[in-house]
């Protein structure tokens, strides 16, 4: 192979360069448009008031329903979306656990299986969690349950966004 660029090679390289320009000129806006959801920062959610008063929170987890208003692209249901958290007190501190199993996203229940007392139990693949949300070793989930940020205002429980692990 000679070091000198042949005419044909030169033409082919120029051709490739022009092709790259054409393709990127066309595709850059489109790809940027398509991956926009990946690059968008998650909207900071606010604290939502629940119907539970501070006095009602006990040591045993209770399911609390709360409604969040979230915009999904152009779609925002006016009635909001209902979500649930398992709320209890641990060493005097309020804990709100997300009921979404860390294995494959089923919903966990407190004390629902008589075999596993005082544990969160996931019916899908028998995932189990201790009361504080830690996953029981040897069961499918690999991580503890997510926790919601909580606040007490005027004696009422407020639930915020999920804590980043």
């Amino acid at each position: 192979m000679s070091k000198k660029l042949s005419r044909r090679q030169f033409l082919t390289y120029t051709f490739g360069g022009t092709a790259g320009f054409l393709a990127s000129g066309m595709l850059f806006p489109m790809v940027r448009f398509a991956i926009d959801p990946v690059l968008k920062k998650g909207a900071g959610s606010e604290y939502v008031e629940t119907t539970m008063t501070e006095a009602e929170i006990t040591d045993s987890p209770k399911a609390v329903k709360f409604t969040i208003h979230r915009k999904d692209g152009w779609y925002q249901p006016p009635q909001g979306e209902e979500q649930t958290a398992w709320v209890f007190k641990q060493n005097g501190k309020v804990v709100a656990l997300s009921p979404v199993c860390k294995h494959l996203g089923c919903t966990v229940n407190w004390n629902s299986n008589p075999q596993f007392k005082d544990e969160f139990f996931c019916p899908c693949h028998f995932g189990r969690y201790y009361k504080d949300g830690r996953n029981v070793p040897g069961t499918p989930p690999a991580k503890p349950l997510d926790k919601y940020k909580t606040k007490i205002e005027n004696g009422r429980l407020l639930i915020g966004p999920l804590e980043k692990a």
């Binding site: 066309m26 595709l27 806006p29 489109m30 940027r32 448009f33 398509a34 926009d36 690059l39 692209g73 152009w74 779609y75």
Partner: protein, 223 residues
């Protein structure tokens, strides 16, 4: 490495003759704008194809966000245009590209007409070209409705009424286009289906025929 992969595939698929035929065929000087500037009139066909490629790509990307339904169509277009990065540009490419495609197609048709290139043996390619023209107009008509704004709605209503005034079969055409008795939810759904599945499929088939015919018959000679 790449060479080895290519050879492996070529050994089984025998693709070299396919692209060699296209790559190595000779192109005469009289259509080459580098030799005679006036030959730029021969570029309109290629440019039409280029715009069609832009239309197909931008349309595919728009379909990632667009919803063909009378409740969500307008909010989704509004969202993709105003709240997504480059949304106005991608929709702009599709919106303005539609007009530019018609202009280029028109110029290409006029070039072929005035250079008499539709004459024997290229009659059939002219017919295929005219069918492409109709399909493109159909794409324009069906695509115009999709944003579901007032302009789209009333233009479609007028279009359907024009079709309805055709004697005997008119009312049937109108009902077929509307998918019901009014321009509404069902119209939008079927215009969407026509716009993204039926008409593009027809267009690709016709374009394939158009290109194969050009390769078989060659470019018409200089005037």
């Amino acid at each position: 490495m790449l060479r080895a992969i290519y050879d492996w595939v070529d050994e089984r698929l025998d693709i070299t003759p396919l692209w060699r035929d296209v790559a190595d065929h000779e192109v005469p000087e009289h259509v080459n704008p580098a030799h005679h500037f006036s030959a730029f009139i021969y570029c309109f066909g290629g440019l039409t194809f280029f715009v069609v490629v832009i239309q197909i790509l931008s349309g595919m990307f728009l379909a990632m966000y667009y919803v063909p339904d009378i409740v969500n169509a307008h909010p989704s277009v509004n969202y993709l245009q105003n709240e997504l990065a480059m949304g106005a540009i991608v929709r702009g490419m599709h919106h303005w590209g539609a007009s530019v495609a018609i202009v280029m197609l028109f110029l290409h048709t006029l070039r072929v007409f005035f250079t008499g290139s539709y004459k024997h043996p290229r009659e059939f390619n002219w017919v295929v070209g005219m069918l492409i023209f109709f399909v493109m107009l159909g794409l324009g008509f069906t695509g115009y409705l999709l944003p579901w704004d007032n302009k789209a709605y009333f233009a479609t209503k007028v279009g359907v009424e024009i079709a309805a005034s055709v004697p005997v079969i008119g009312p049937y055409i109108a009902t077929f286009l509307q998918g019901g008795d009014i321009v509404g939810a069902q119209t939008l759904a079927r215009f969407f289906a026509l716009h993204v599945f039926f008409l593009p499929a027809a267009l690709l088939g016709l374009l394939g025929a158009h290109f194969i015919l050009i390769r078989r018959q060659g470019i018409s000679g200089p005037l």
